[in-house]
């Protein structure tokens, strides 16, 4: 090439730097603005009810975010690959049952039981990944089937009865109230959620796995043509996502002191909603963990706030729907502005 590296060129480089800085600034501004809906909600409820902005209630909100939050973390990976995971709700239930079985019927020590619970989630995720990547079954269908299978198996394995874990030494501590920050009683489970979020964030932004997650979601064929073993990595990504489902199952068990074999269905939509509110695109290729955490918090602040305000429950549903719409719409508007 015959580019003459003259003053003009230098000027261009300088202006590039400038615009790069602008881009960065804009990006972090965007991230900041993502908080805005959350803050607006918190502010609103704080004004609306004096019971809302109380240490105990804030800890409630965090607590009620834990399980959905963990599920949302895992499913963020899957959604960024362009897939979807409908099995997380009942899958979490199955993991919960398995954790209880491991610890009570198989008599594993607490730590081992917890580990096996998480690994069981990984196994389920791996199966999802296998179905999607090897058999090329659309993730919606593969995980829908897994959702049904997990719901059924949870009932079969538990004998349709709750399995109680009170006897398992130390297990309740996982969910118990910690007192790490003076004045604020924050349950251990919340720390686990944040630790998990940090791990997820690092995985996604700093590792090969994360890079391929974005790459596959952005253009699977091109990724494959570039010599990346897309099949293998897809299975891995789903497996990682499964770990979060497993962890959610463990924590749900610790919270309820028991594995509840029914239910879980519906949680997947909540978790996916949290992910999407957090700015991750269902088309794949785009998304962030911090967004997901904010999304999950928005969901639980909403539910909590409306209930604290003693809004009749049927109106609560309407309100949640409308606020989700608003949050996503405003977020989109802001993004648009930020990029213009």
């Amino acid at each position: 090439m015959t580019l003459t590296k003259d003053a003009a060129q230098a000027a261009k480089v300088a202006s590039n730097k400038q615009s790069e800085f602008n881009t960065r600034l804009r990006a972090s501004f965007q991230q900041l603005l993502a908080f805005a809906s959350l803050l607006a909600l918190v502010l609103f409820f704080s004004v609306a009810s004096s019971n809302f902005y109380q240490a105990a209630n804030l800890s409630n909100i965090l607590l009620s975010t834990v399980v959905t939050g963990l599920l949302a973390l895992g499913t963020t990976f899957v959604i960024i690959t362009g897939g979807i995971d409908l099995s997380i709700g009942t899958g979490m239930t199955l993991c919960s049952v398995m954790t209880a079985v491991f610890m009570t019927q198989l008599g594993m020590p607490m730590i081992v039981g917890v580990l096996c619970g998480v690994l069981f989630g990984a196994l389920m995720g791996g199966i999802n990944g296998f179905l999607v990547a090897f058999l090329k079954i659309p993730s919606f269908i593969a995980t829908l089937a897994m959702m049904m299978v997990a719901a059924g198996l949870a009932l079969v394995i538990s004998g349709t009865k709750p399995i109680y874990t009170n006897e398992v030494a130390g297990f309740q501590k996982i969910f118990a109230l910690g007192k790490s920050i003076p004045g604020l009683v924050i349950p251990n489970a919340v720390f686990i959620l944040f630790a998990a979020a940090i791990v997820a964030g690092l995985l996604l932004s700093k590792t090969i796995l994360g890079r391929y997650t974005y790459s596959i979601g952005s253009n699977m064929q091109a990724t494959a043509l570039s010599g990346v073993n897309v099949t293998k990595w897809t299975v891995l990504i789903y497996t990682v996502a499964g770990c979060f489902t497993g962890l959610a199952g463990v924590i749900a068990t610790a919270r309820l002191n028991s594995a509840q074999p029914a239910g879980g269905a519906g949680l997947e939509l909540q978790a996916i909603a949290a992910v999407v509110i957090g700015g991750t695109s269902l088309a794949g290729g785009k998304g962030s963990i911090i967004g997901t955490v904010i999304g999950a918090l928005i969901m639980s602040v909403l539910t909590n706030g409306l209930s604290i305000m003693s809004i009749p429950q049927e109106w609560q549903q309407v309100a949640v729907g409308v606020v989700i719409l608003l949050a996503v719409y405003l977020d989109m508007m802001r993004r648009k502005k930020a990029t213009n």
Binding site: N60, L256, S258, A262, G263, G266, N304, S310
Partner: protein, 300 residues
Amino acid sequence: DTAAEAPVANGKTYIAIVSKGFQHQFWQSVKQGAEKAAKEFDVEISFEGPDKETNVQQQMDQLNNAMAKNPQALALAALDSKAAEGVLQDAKGKNIPVIAFDSGVDSDIPIATASTDNKAAAAEAAKHMAELLGNKGEIAIVGHSQTATSGTDRRDGFVDYLKTNAPDIKIVDIQYADGDQAKSTDAAKTIMTAYPNLAGMYGTNEGAAIGVVNAVKEAGKTGKLVIVGFDSGKAQMDAIKDGLMAGAVTQNPVGIGYETVKAAVAAIKGEKVEKVIDTGFYWYDKTNIADPDIAANLYE
């Protein structure tokens, strides 16, 4: 509706009620009873329950939210008593009296329980079924939940009664349909297809019972099966009046709600309350449906 700040602002007593559900008729009737008592005793209440009776976590969140509102008393129909243990301890620590209702709470903390015995009520239904069938024949059950206690108690009470008292009645199939009328209809119809000799069917709540009635109607087998149900509601009462359904057991959900609030008010005032408030159940059929005693316990 009642403003959020009302309990604090005007110093009215506030009682938080967390039930097992809120959408279904049964729970709406409990709510109605509670509201009636609230008016009568001039207290504020809130009434919440999970979307489904399998959502134990959601109920836990609702319990936590209720506690955050600093109620003077807490009323609870626990989906799982052990899961709720933590909140109960919390309430005890804060000296908030706890009243249990519906199927009760398996714990020492509640100072009173306003409930019906689901098992006994189901046994009553079984008794009538056995009588109507002459103690023999094949029957099936359409349940509303295979995990929620109301579902399992109403199933087990029925099954156990027949096992001991009418061993010649064979329960050939039990299917669960979430208390959804359409799903219950489809389930009941497949059961009838699978067991053409079926002589009777039992539905464990309003949705299940009406599903059974619908199924018999749609299959053109009106009058050929003995149907017993649970709960009330207009459709079920009509079916009984029309002779489509032999009868049903009703609990007194309005009474449960009323008694719960009444007990809570008493507890707040430091008055003594009965440990067990049995709101009872009633068998009703074509013959007694209009009796004032019975009619008082039925709801449309």
